[in-house]
């Protein structure tokens, strides 16, 4: 299990990296944390001709919390997120999901941007980014554009990135007051990819009426599945209403099934987790995270 030959170039600046990508296009891969790319290269399932190493680009690794939004550099490692108390206080959803992502050694190396660009359907962070309403900054040698996370994921291992683009930054909007969130997943072992995972966010108004809700699933489709739950908006959240949302979502899901779980089980468990995460997110919105 040794990688096939390739040309390695350590990028010395963002501009350098983007110029290289513009030059080599699909023949080249960016190497960020490498925790998904390197295994596929060792299995020789991926054989990039050129590997552009981004790990020297320290200015792409940052977390900047602001009042309106938080900006995260794409090269920020999971470990840095885990250690950023300010970030986790603002986005408890991230803190709840991080321990479910692989194992400590992987989180020491893996980056948020690399994970999002890999776009594994069972991965947690893509679903979280959609749930949090993240905006992604995609840059190429010829310019930059911003794209909502919900429009970034196009399918299994497929994103809206053009061959010459790089994801450089993730912007998270601040959560409104009286918001609660919850992430849960079912995996065969802790750290495995999700059989089903659910990120739920609930915002209440002063009368405990639901003013906003986000419900995004991982592991049950080709990309993060936005399960809606808009039916809850404008009403007081009850167990019955939550069960209705879960039932509606279950009917909507078309999970792939795998050696670890049948599609039926995935659908079932997704429903259970929707009920549990919405219930908890609602409680947290009412009583504080």
């Amino acid at each position: 299990m040794k990688p096939a030959p390739f040309r390695y170039i350590a990028a010395t600046s963002l501009a350098h990296a983007l110029a290289l990508k513009a030059e080599h296009g699909d023949e080249a891969k960016f190497l960020a944390g490498g925790q998904s790319l390197m295994p596929t290269m060792n299995f020789r399932l991926a054989r990039p001709a050129v590997l552009i190493d981004l790990n020297g680009l320290d200015d792409l690794a940052f977390v900047r919390c602001g009042d309106d939004a938080t900006r995260i550099g794409a090269l920020t490692r999971y470990r840095a997120l885990e250690r950023d108390a300010g970030l986790l206080a603002r986005y408890p959803l991230i803190g709840e999901a991080l321990p479910e992502i692989a194992h400590p050694q992987i989180r020491n190396r893996g980056t948020l941007g690399g994970n999002l660009c890999h776009a594994d359907p069972a991965s947690e962070m893509p679903a979280l980014m959609v749930a949090l309403g993240a905006q992604l900054k995609l840059q190429s040698a010829s310019g930059a554009r911003w794209l909502a996370a919900s429009e970034f994921f196009l399918g299994g291992l497929t994103t809206a990135l053009a061959p010459d683009e790089m994801l450089v930054e993730i912007e998270l909007p601040a959560s409104p007051a009286r918001s609660g969130s919850c992430f849960m997943e079912v995996a065969r072992r802790r750290g495995d990819f999700a059989i089903a995972g659910v990120a739920a966010m609930v915002t209440l108004d002063g009368d405990d009426i639901c003013s906003n809700v986000r419900l995004v699933l991982c592991g049950v489709g080709e990309m993060p599945v936005d399960a809606g739950a808009d039916a809850l908006i404008g009403q007081a959240i009850t167990d019955a209403a939550i069960c209705d949302v879960a039932a509606a979502a279950r009917a909507l899901l078309d999970p792939p099934g795998s050696v670890h779980a049948t599609a039926d089980y995935q659908r079932h468990v997704a429903g259970v987790l929707i009920e549990r995460t919405l219930t908890t997110a609602h409680l947290r919105a009412r009583h504080g995270q």
Partner: protein
């Protein structure tokens, strides 16, 4: 140093090297000019080989050679059967073994077609892409039952069916017992057992010294002596000119014993041909195909009982998936057949199995080695019987236990060692009682009700088993006191982490009065000890341990004789302790063991007729038959009734393996076995499609338990020594792994009230998804 070390938790001699990164494993061997091998393996399960073209590979810079079966010439021949079938009358056994490279046909995914040898492993892997293979694909034989239907594709064309073996063993008259029974329970059981997946994969380094005519092979094998003898025969060398070294081996658990794996033949052969050392290290992907598996059995079983729960008889007819070849004979299904009987009185037994050829990788023993399958059937039948007869599950076990006063207890059938399945000794009821006490059986129903009232679903499992251990043929050991006062022990058995460097030292330490840390054990090097069998069947401590003991006893006698001559005293007046022999009551009158050893090898004078120089002895031990260990595991789980997520709240093992040599090492063996049993019961499954493709050939998808899945365990022991060896030892290597399947099934049923809902768990492995499927089907039936 006069205290006994046997029975004490002596810390391990081997740890120092392992904890500092200084232990030599096969992949650590670096030789000047060494080449590296990679193998092209079949991507399809069943096909005729039309053409293999390696010419492009040979043109790649850095590639030295590429060999197919044709290139091997007369060296190509099918393996001998490692373990022939036991002499059971009426048995059928069709020996069909693999050769070093596939010839004519491939019969499983991963079967090797070409070996490429290159300057680096990287280049060797590059060259695999350059090889063109043309196949004529054939239908794959995967399903066990379909394999036996007329018209099925044939794994071996020269046979008229896919039957590899057919064996019936019986005692008493089951049909008559069933006719008079109050109740007969009949069910079909499926039991899958996965792969051993040691963290170190297999590996071989071969070095040919043309001038000395000497072949040296470093190999992850569990049986270096057999390997040496076989290799010498295959290569046309004298056994003395072949040295096999199994250095530190990173876990094996059975599959590292198969002889020969293709690479074990190909590397030495190519090293001779190229006159360069060659290394091959199996990568993890290869391991899923190139190292042997255990896999499925399907049992159609019935148990006849009286209404008070006494077993009148058991009938079992099962299919055993043997894979594409059967080099390891019938060890696995014979173990299933024999171990099914467990610690119970089964007056009538009728067991028939058919071993089936399939287009899947080869099956050979993996920790437990078929015993799990049998124990699952027996324990599940007892649970079903208890439910149907309205009996307590502990009581139905208790009333059927073999009483303590009837040992040795002959089960009247033949075991894997060709000897009658006779239990040497045992006292089973106290083991059950201790387990019930430790798990809190008496109070559990109340505890369960309380938990249920809080919305928690907890359940208890309980399973009994015996384990045939410590089989022959023999092992030997050479114990030698050196003139520096330290002791060297050499044995041929090989080791894979079981603490042999310490336990064998303890045995000698007690005989010779020398500190354990001053005793060095050499094992797994055929130049250090010529004879032996290997480390398998929970036999190391029993068989090699007793050989060490016998040799150390002789050395002790020699030392006493020398000292009594020196002091002109009776041997009765001498004390052996603290590395010296002292004259009782005369302070300062002593001789060190080192000085005695030196004086036993004099520069002048004459060695007396009938004596030997040196303070050493080589002795052998071969038990007449295996010793039978036994135990009970009990467990409490909590289930999420909706996701079927499982958490183990408590795990108890009570075990009897006779005399305990080192309780710390024994506990480690049990804990590790249980962890593998947990993997088998709930996490690990080889998923093949109907074309024989393995769908989860990575450690991301083949789920080994981590520190979060394996619970803390509470262990305790009883001691019923074996009369079959002087030390009273029984083996313990596999005990932890054997009863975990039925334990899971029972505990999960209990936690989720499955029996009352008409749901029975009759298969292993289980998983949350599978439990959902079973309960949903039952829900639909309602």
């Amino acid at each position: 140093m006069s205290t006994r070390t046997l029975g004490e938790p002596v810390k391990r001699n081997e740890d120092r090297k392992l904890l500092t990164g200084q232990a030599l494993f096969v992949d650590d061997v670096e030789l000047p000019g060494m080449l590296h091998a990679a193998l092209l393996r079949s991507q399809v399960a069943h096909a005729r080989i039309v053409r293999i073209d390696v010419s492009r590979a040979l043109q790649r810079p850095g590639v030295i050679a590429a060999y197919t079966a044709e290139d091997l010439g007369a060296f190509w021949r099918p393996n001998a059967v490692v373990v022939p079938p036991p002499p059971i009358p009426g048995s059928i056994f069709n020996a069909r073994t693999h050769g070093p490279l596939a010839k004519g046909k491939v019969r499983h995914v991963g079967e090797p077609l070409v070996i490429v040898i290159a300057e680096s492993r990287y280049i060797a892997e590059d060259a695999l892409d350059d090889i063109d293979v043309e196949f004529e694909q054939l239908d794959a034989v995967v399903d066990l039952e379909a394999a036996l239907r007329p018209g099925s594709a044939l794994v071996h064309d020269d046979l008229d069916s896919n039957v590899a073996a057919h064996v019936r063993q019986s005692k008493g008259n089951y049909a008559a017992a069933a006719a008079r029974a109050d109740r007969v329970i009949k069910r079909r059981f499926h039991y899958e057992h996965g792969i051993s997946s040691p963290i170190e994969t297999r590996g071989v380094v071969a070095q040919w010294d043309a001038r000395a005519g000497q072949m040296t092979v470093w190999d992850t094998t569990q049986a270096p002596v057999f390997m040496r003898n076989g290799l010498a025969a295959m290569l046309g060398l004298n056994e003395r000119n072949v040295r096999v070294i199994a250095p530190f081996v990173g876990g094996g658990f059975g599959p590292k014993i198969m002889i020969f794996y293709p690479e074990e033949l190909l590397l030495p052969w190519a090293a001779m041909r190229l006159n360069r050392p060659i290394k091959w290290i199996e990568d993890r992907l290869e391991h899923f195909f190139a190292t042997t598996h255990e896999r499925g059995q399907i049992h159609d079983s019935e148990m006849a009982l009286s209404k008070d729960g006494r077993i009148l008889g058991v009938k079992d007819v099962f299919l055993h998936d043997g894979g594409a070849y059967d080099p390891y004979g019938l060890t696995v299904p014979i173990n299933s057949q024999c171990t099914l009987l467990g610690p119970y009185v089964v007056p009538n037994y009728d067991s028939t199995f058919t071993q089936v050829f399939t287009n899947l990788p080869i099956v050979t023993p993996y920790r437990g080695a078929g015993r799990q399958h049998g124990v699952f059937v027996m324990e599940r039948l007892l649970d079903l019987a208890a439910h149907e007869l309205g009996l307590d599950r502990a009581e139905i076990r208790r009333i059927n236990l073999i009483p303590a006063d009837v040992f040795p207890y002959n089960n009247e059938i033949i075991y894997q060692d060709f000897a009658p399945l006779s239990y040497d000794s045992g006292n089973y009821e106290p083991v059950l009682d201790m387990a019930l006490e430790a798990i809190g059986y008496a109070g559990f129903k109340a505890e369960q009700a309380l938990a249920r009232a809080q919305g928690r679903h907890i359940g208890l499992g309980l399973a009994c088993y015996v384990e045939g251990t410590g089989i022959g043929p023999y092992e030997g050991a050479k114990v030698q006191v050196q003139s520096n006062g330290k002791v060297s022990i050499a044995t041929g058995i090989g080791t894979q982490g079981q603490g042999h460097f310490t336990v064998f030292a303890q045995i000698a330490a007690d005989q010779l009065g020398i500190a354990v840390s001053d005793i060095e054990v050499v094992t797994g090097d055929t130049d250090q000890f010529y004879w032996g069998a290997g480390t398998f069947a929970s036999r190391g401590a029993v068989v090699a341990g007793n050989a060490v003991n016998e040799a150390a006893k002789v050395v002790r006698q020699k030392a006493l004789k020398l000292a009594s001559d020196l002091f002109e005293c009776s041997e009765d007046d001498l004390v052996v302790a603290d590395g010296r022999i002292s004259l009782v009551g005369v302070p300062g009158k002593f001789v060190t063991m080192g000085d005695l050893a030196a004086s036993a090898n004099p520069m002048r004078g004459a060695v007396k007729p009938g004596t030997e120089p040196g303070l050493e002895s080589t002795q052998y031990f071969g038990p007449p038959s295996g010793a039978t260990a036994n135990g009970v595991h009990a467990m409490i789980v909590e289930m999420d009734p909706r996701t079927f997520d499982l958490k183990i709240l408590k795990y108890v093992v009570v075990h009897d393996c006779g005399t305990v040599l080192n309780p710390m090492i024994l506990a480690g063996q049990i804990q590790g076995g249980v962890a593998q049993g947990i993997g088998n019961a709930f996490y690990e499954k080889l998923c093949f499609d109907d074309q024989g493709q393995l769908l989860n050939a990575s450690l991301a998808d083949y789920l080994l338990p981590t520190a979060l899945e394996v619970p803390r365990m509470e262990l305790s022991h009883t001691v019923t020594p074996s009369p079959l060896n002087p030390m009273g030892i029984k083996g313990a290597g596999e005990a932890g792994a054997i009863p975990v399947g039925p334990l899971f099934a029972q505990a999960i049923e209990d936690a989720l009230d499955l029996p009352s809902r008409g749901i029975e768990l009759l298969e292993i492995p289980l998983s949350p998804s599978r439990l959902y499927e079973l309960t949903r089907k039952a829900g639909e039936r309602e």
